[in-house]
Symmetry: none
Subunit: 363 residues, 2 copies
């Protein structure tokens, strides 16, 4: 990871808890690398005031005002549906490239392929990092991920944009504190931004979704006992379910953690799709995995950001009671119960494997 | 469908039952659109003699000899491993473009991006049709396909490469004979070649699988009462399940036809994935559709090509008995029972819809 990054985050007109996903993840997970946020609508406030986290990171109203905070990179801070570049931002990106700032983008539009941007970067020596660029040399999935010894855990969701990556990152620290070597396999532009590596599986050619997931999982497993694979979309999402299932069948998780937002009753931007009960969602996910590798849902991560504390606690209790599974909001509360469920699953799996195939030599 | 196409099929050195897949599909499904095959090795024979089907379509030994049969398009008739363009064919493609013939290709190499080909096409006014090119302007799926009035039927399979497209094309003629306006929505390169339009959904960026399927279905529904959508992969395929589910949720079929090969017990090239019973496959497909649009499997299309006649009839009987659904091998036998199941489903759906929302004006 480039520790020397100092981002000016471009979120013009969009900085907020739900509308600037990439910006928010960057602020939450690598706040030390954020110089300022550019959004004229919320300018003058601090990230903490806008998002509820982020401390004193300032929000500024112009590129020039942002430069006062000495950024060395511009991060495109939104992830709109379809991932197109908002043309109103062109002049800001041009200003950044002229000033020699690297540009990081998780959009589907490859900014590095834009002739104007490419020319400006060539002149100033800036680098354009398109996080969603499909790597070359991808293969279709073959099931070779079955040889991985690490325990693979995938987050899955009732919907997209529900906190799967956030839950995973919170849980990762907690699993590590329990004494396990754990790796995070980033599958989306934001996870890649935070982790410094990964493949945006929603941006590869469709035939290679599972192959990309397989390759990522194998790579992350090389130095870990437990691999947490970043989930994407939802198996019931009308636009992104293909990415979700391809990721499931490519990563072949041994277990899954289901993420849900208690207040959400229908799919984001698709009110015509009602979200079924969590028991039904668990049944759907487990049934979809069963023919390839039985993979139980072993914990529930709730996103209760829009509930007051009493409502949040009630929601956690209700879900724990409905599903019989360890449940918490791993951002609002301690992620430990989820980490413990993962660690316990891992320990049991390892001991079962050792019984089934004892090591050839002992001592 | 572009009824005016007359293909000269380029299969130089490769025309044969196993070595010219694209040529053979074209000859099998749209023989009236094939003027001649160019292959100096088998020149002088008829397609029937080389393939065992294709009637009197002549094989010629040169581009000039092919032109005598008045083609208006050149089809690249092979799908070699890697999908690259054989450079020995360059002069023939140039000749064709100079003569104003359109060029159709299902290769991975985009012929339209070749500067020499593009320049010749620009001069002569010929069109280069790269069947695998991802169309520009694709959008993520939004559910607008729900406004379609036509009955949408998707083929799904226990595996890939099991005869979904072939079954669909056989059934299409049969549904038409029953008096319905029916359209085929092609989702793979061969289907696109046969139909003259479509999108290879396995070749789009992963986030757009469902959007491509939605767009295809809406287009096909504009002039039809029944749309048959070409299925891809399988919901249990370890490499391609993402394409399958994205296609399902993008096309939002009202009903599905399940394709299976009785002799196949595990996934093609993935023997570690056993194919569940057909009842279980039906349950999986229906469960995956349920949250978006309940969509029953209404018929079974078997591919019995590798069974003798007695085994084939027993297989059909056994599956009919196991599933309780109309079952046949629509290539080996009459596809009528599947067509009738689709037509009956359509008629019932229309009558239910008319009861629910009667027309504002009658007469």
């Amino acid at each position: 990871m480039a520790l020397s990054r100092r981002f000016l985050i471009l979120a013009e007109g969009s900085f907020g808890p739900l509308s600037s996903k990439t910006a928010n993840a960057c602020i939450r997970y690598v706040p030390d690398e954020v110089a300022a946020v550019l959004d004229s609508r919320t300018a003058g406030r601090k990230a903490q005031d806008v998002l509820g986290f982020g401390g004193n990171i300032p929000v500024v109203d112009s590129f020039a005002a942002g430069m006062i905070h000495l950024p060395n990179a511009l991060l495109i801070g939104i992830a709109p549906a379809g991932g197109q570049f908002p043309d109103a931002w062109r002049s800001i990106v041009c200003d950044a490239l002229r000033a020699g700032l690297d540009v990081w983008s998780g959009l589907h539009t490859m900014l590095g392929d834009d002739p104007e941007f490419a020319a400006l970067a060539a002149v100033s020596g800036a680098t354009i990092r398109d996080l969603r660029r499909m790597p070359s040399g991808l293969e279709v999935a073959s099931g070779r991920v079955r040889d991985v010894e690490a325990t693979v855990v995938l987050t899955v969701g009732t919907d997209c944009n529900i906190g799967k990556m956030t839950a995973q990152l919170q849980v990762q620290s907690s699993v590590r504190q329990l004494g396990h070597r754990v790796n995070f396999a980033a599958t989306g532009q934001t996870g890649i931004l935070v982790e410094g590596r990964g493949i945006a599986v929603d941006a590869v050619i469709a035939d290679f979704i599972a192959g990309a997931a397989e390759s990522l999982t194998i790579e992350a497993a090389a130095e870990a006992d437990i691999v947490l694979v970043e989930g994407q979309g939802s198996i019931i999402h009308p636009a992104y379910s293909g990415v979700t299932l391809g990721l499931m069948h490519g990563a072949l998780p041994h277990a899954m953690v289901l993420c849900a937002q208690p207040s959400r009753t229908s799919i984001h931007r698709n009110p015509w799709v009602s979200i079924p009960s969590l028991s039904e969602m668990i049944r759907l996910y487990e049934a979809a995995m069963e023919p390839l590798r039985p993979s139980p849902v072993i914990a529930i991560a709730l996103n209760t950001f829009d509930l007051d504390d009493r409502e949040a606690r009630l929601a956690v209790e209700r879900v724990r009671s409905e599903t019989g599974l360890p449940t918490t909001d791993p951002v609002r509360y301690e992620p430990l119960v989820i980490a413990e469920a993962i660690a316990a699953f891992h320990v049991e799996r390892v001991s079962e494997r050792n019984v089934l195939s004892p090591p050839a030599m002992i001592g």
